[in-house]
Amino acid sequence: MIDLTALAEFAPAIWRGLLVTVEICAVSLMLGLVLGLVVALLGRLPFRPLHWLIRGYVEIWRGTPLLLQLFILYYGGPSLGFTPSAYLAGVLGMSLYTGAYLSEIFRGGFDAVPPGQIEAARMLGFTRLKTVRHIEVPQMLKLVVPPTTNQMISIIKESAVLSVITVPELTLTTTRIVSETFNVVEPYLLLGLAYWSITSLVAFASRRVERRLVQA
């Protein structure tokens, strides 16, 4: 039922698609981490209009499908004189989407840092900026490891929708093989296996990291 030679034939192309998926996810995650951290820090400034702006960003980006956000960037952008390549629209869309989720995670992390630590730092003569840099951010980062790795896994899976705006990642590579060779079972089997392996790998690695952090 399953043709092993077909499996071997398609594996290299699917591997290349997987690498594109990993690359896009890594870049978007990095950008999303920076964006999320900046937004979470800005949200701590005592300036009301900024809070409304941040809430608007977080609620809108978390309340609409990623696929739709990609459509707006990729197909709607040209109406505003912005014509991104599929790849750029993909990275940009995924970063903004991840940033919204991560900023909420970081906000929760900042709130969970015990206030006594901040008071103690101030008593020791730390400036506001030094308190944030040396006390709040490192503590917060340690607290947010589990939700952040969950977010990582979900962004890897969500990246499959990039295929719809023609980014040549894992899913698009596979659907192209299917339409060119009329082999359905083997390519999809490999596709499922590829996603399941990366998400399981990330989940396994994150459990290891979490365990080490708990012990430390």
Partner: protein, 217 residues
């Protein structure tokens, strides 16, 4: 920007939103049943049942919904089984949310003090009665926030059904774009629809959470 062409198509968008809503509700309900069954299997004393449930959770939480939908839609015809977009859509969404709901219910169950089940057993409750009257109501209360997030996720993920040609909100928007050539305006209006839907779900969830809370308001 010119929204007139899109405004003229509002009734179609509303019809698409209705499809999104009923598919989401149906998938969430079927997913709740399947999720509870899988949760019971995961917590049972039978190793085989536990393994099946763990495999189920691992597969459907580990695969992108889009991939599950593509497989359900394109693979069965290869074996002589006819599929329609709607059945593949409902099945895919249900399996996906069931995977997540299994873990949500399991986490909820683990928060229950073991004394409750023991007390109920002492009072002569059968196992089914314990599940129905002791476990379920309490699990439901503690899992409302997680279930609310899951419901928002399902509404958003249902946009992926457009890829297998289910005429829900996003698919209708694509059709409107192809006749009006106004992608930006159409997709922005579509985003408003999704935003209203997901906000309604999270608002309802929070209201339910307050109502079911044991702490006095």
């Amino acid at each position: 920007m010119d929204f007139t062409a899109v405004i003229a198509q509002l009734p179609r968008l509303v019809a698409g939103a209705q499809t999104t809503v009923w598919l989401s509700v149906a998938a969430l309900a079927c997913g709740a049943v399947l999720g509870l069954v899988m949760c019971a299997a995961r917590l049972s004393g039978n190793i085989a049942l536990r393994a099946v449930a763990a495999g189920f959770v691992s597969v459907f939480r580990g695969l992108p919904l889009l991939v599950v939908l593509l497989i359900l839609f394109y693979v069965p015809p290869n074996f002589g089984i006819e599929t329609t977009p709607i059945t593949a859509a409902l099945l895919g969404l249900t399996l996906n949310t069931a995977g997540y709901q299994t873990e949500i219910y399991r986490a909820g169950f683990l928060t229950l003090p073991p004394g409750h089940a023991e007390a109920a057993r002492m009072l002569g409750f059968s196992r089914l009665q314990i599940a129905r009257h002791i476990f379920l109501p309490q699990i439901f209360r503690v899992t409302i926030p997680a279930l609310t997030n899951e419901a928002v996720d399902v509404v958003k993920s249902s946009g992926l059904l457009s890829v297998i040609a289910v005429t829900e909100l996003l698919r209708v928007s694509q059709q409107i774009v192809s006749s009006t050539y106004r992608p930006l305006e159409t997709y922005l209006v579509c985003a408003v629809f999704y935003f209203v839907l997901s906000s309604t779900v999270s608002w309802t969830g929070r209201a339910l959470e307050r109502r079911m809370s044991l702490k006095p308001a």
